[in-house]
């Protein structure tokens, strides 16, 4: 390995070049990410305009048909158009991930603020709560709960929010601790502002950027999680098209219709890749350090 390149690049011209290249690279990934995210959102919003079929339109005479001009990605075991189902699947992916992330982030934010600002035993208690919740294997917990309650969109969103909120809580607490030390907070406290006011007015706005980035990073985690549950038949109930259940079907019929699994994973990967790139570009822009821990 030529380590000299490592050392020489610290020289001024190389550094300049590096920065330019890195920024370009950043822009590329950021651009690709933004593009993918936009694509997913557009597909979700304009699904009925994009495809002439309905996602639950059954035609058993045309079951398991290969890709054709009529059915770009073939049909599934009930003769439903795969492309249509995948396009409508973007809606489910967003319908699960956005509310789950927003709810998790909101609850985590509140608890994190309280922990960071109040400190003391409240902080200890909340940190303990975060640790306890994080120590549960999320997927197994979800399977156990859904086995009892039956699968539904609400349940998945609820469980995801429940298992994701500690990471936001810890993040916001850390941010709050940092900001609390800063002068303007001390100043407003000295001026007799109520704790609530201080938290809302001063601490929260400063903690929003990392929160937003963390949320963007969490979207693919939740999408993957829902896909995993749907793959086990515990996700959004049929005939609602979810990428996970389409993958499951593709897997079941892999010998007859190998394209199903390829197209299915394609959509899933575009979404997760897009949101990851997007979040990372954001992070670089805001220059915030976040450790993505993934779901367990």
């Amino acid at each position: 390995m030529d380590v000299s390149t490592v050392t020489t690049t610290t020289a001024a011209p190389a550094r300049w070049r590096r920065l330019a290249v890195v920024r370009l690279l950043r822009d590329t990934t950021g651009a690709v990410g933004t593009l993918f995210v936009l694509l997913i959102v557009l597909l979700a919003v304009f699904a009925p305009l994009i495809t002439p079929y309905a996602p639950d339109e059954i035609n058993v005479l045309k079951r398991l048909a290969p890709p054709s001009a009529e059915h770009w990605m073939g049909t599934d075991q009930l003769g439903r158009d795969t492309f249509t189902r995948l396009v409508y699947g973007t809606r489910i992916a967003l319908l699960v991930s956005l509310p789950a992330v927003i709810a998790g982030a909101f609850v985590g934010m509140l608890l994190g603020l309280v922990a960071g600002y109040l400190g003391g035993w409240v902080e200890t208690g909340l940190l303990w709560l975060f640790d306890v919740v994080r120590s549960f294997p999320a997927l197994l917990f979800a399977i156990a709960v859904i086995a009892l309650t039956g699968p539904s969109l609400f349940m998945i969103v609820f469980i995801m929010a429940l298992t994701r909120f500690p990471s936001y809580g810890r993040l916001i607490r850390a941010q709050t601790l940092k900001i609390r030390e800063e002068e303007f907070v001390a100043a407003s406290q000295a001026l007799g502002c109520s704790p609530l006011r201080v938290m809302l007015r001063h601490i929260l706005p400063n903690a929003v950027a990392p929160l937003f980035i963390q949320a963007a990073m969490d979207v693919p985690v939740v999408i993957t999680f829902e896909a995993g549950l749907s793959f086990l038949g515990l996700g959004v109930p049929p005939p609602t098209p979810s990428w996970g259940s389409i993958l499951r079907e593709g897997y079941t019929y892999v010998r007859a219709t190998p394209w199903l699994i390829l197209f299915g994973s394609g959509f899933l990967v575009v979404a997760t890749l897009g949101f990851t790139f997007f979040a990372e570009a954001l992070r670089d822009v805001f220059d915030v350090k976040i450790r993505n821990e993934g779901a367990n």
Binding site: D56, E57, I58, V60, L61, R63, Q77, L78, G79, A147, L148, G150, P151, G233, P237, P238, P239, Y251, T252, Y253, V254, R255, A256
Partner: protein, 516 residues
Amino acid sequence: MIERHHSSRRPSWRPRALFVLALAALLGSATVLAASDETLSVRARNGADINTMDPAFYQGNEEYNVDMVLYSKLARFAPNSTELVLDAAESLELSDDGTVVEFRLREGIQFHHGYGEMTSEDVKFSFERIADPDNDSPYASEWSALVEVETIDRYSGRIILDDVYAPLLSSSIPFTTGSIVSKAAFEDRGEQFATQPVGSGPYYWASWEPNQRLVLERFDDYYGEAPHFKTIEVLPILDPLIAEFSFDVGEIDATEVSLESVDRYLQDDTVVVNVLDTLRYHWLSFNTQAAPFDDVRVREAVRYAVDVDEVLTGAYNDVPNRANTMLAPDILGHWADAPAYQPDLERARELLAEAGYPDGFSTTLITDDVPVHQQSVAIIQQQLRRIGIDASIRIVQSMFETIGQGGAEGMHYASFSAVLDPGYWFEWFSCDQIGAWNYWQWCNEEYDELKDRAARTAEPEERAAYYVRMQQLIDEDVAAIWTTNGASIYVHRAGELDPAFVAMYAQYMYWTGPVD
């Protein structure tokens, strides 16, 4: 059906007989079981591991298959047939009034693991234990007519009933409730008996790693003919697709495969496909006591909106036959003349209008966590839309757990498993099952009365007539829309294996392979 299938299919290959009618051909070829040192590797039934080998508490999966080779019974089913042959008993006689069975055991039957010779005490212990209400066995009803098992001497005894119990010789004795456990072993091993069982069948319990592997070994002191395979290895491969892959690459010798894979295996000359009709009914039911389905016209409208053949094509790959009534064709009491309803949307709309729903209505369609059921409801949902019924699908883990007690409103699609004796099939439609399994809440007094009478009727033709009438009652009241009795597909490699089944249960003791 033990038959080799090539590429042509439908309808020629489709064997239609519940109890594997190729029996004659099979017996004609070679049933001499040549003992070998080979291991038979199979996937557990439904891929589910056994839970307990205590015959009083089976959960209904692989336990049944293992039971048949682990325990002896007074009489058992001959290979590929429901014909009874003597097993542990050397004689078995039913009294003329049908309430006493006198048996005499073979002498010298040894229990596994050195628990000594089988005596009439073991028979008494085994049967009375399941019958005893204090033991809470879910199978107690199979012995509900039992007064006691009287031991005459070391080898003989009498099974005394308080009334005729028609399924005695077709179900109670030859099936799992007739398994004879070692009384000494049971008392010795206590609660561990469930996972370290002791029987006297051709194979003994060698080892069990839960969720991984169950190993049965040939019992050298077995009183009957030695089975072909030395070892049976049962693998609980939960996912049917993984089981198919395992079979394809040769990790297992035989497995059940999905209905969808039939086509693929039929095209493979090296694979033999066995299609076994299952003892089940798949059907669409309604909560008959809640609006709108408390109106028989609404139920009838659904009958004319649902295209059963389309459901069978889309969800069942056209493998099993359509069912027009509850009992499968080869079960005593099958209603052969049951009407095969065809969709008639105009009539369906008329009926809805008559019932006061000219524009249809919204309802729920509930089903459980079984892929083929879920695909069926997706198709039915679309069919109902044509007459303005908007059904939203709800998935429950088990029909019983979620809707049994409350009485679920709307429609339901499920399948119930049954046994060879017809009586069991009708159990769940009686009034006293409302609040338990009868979640469609259908209650008909004539039906209930006939059900009780049939159970106490020994004469098969008379019994059959009662059952046909009961099926007509369900039909007249549109209490159910039947789709199929289902099918199980088993595959194995040509020339490597010759399996035997009774109904859909694997009779491993009769399975043979090439002689080495």
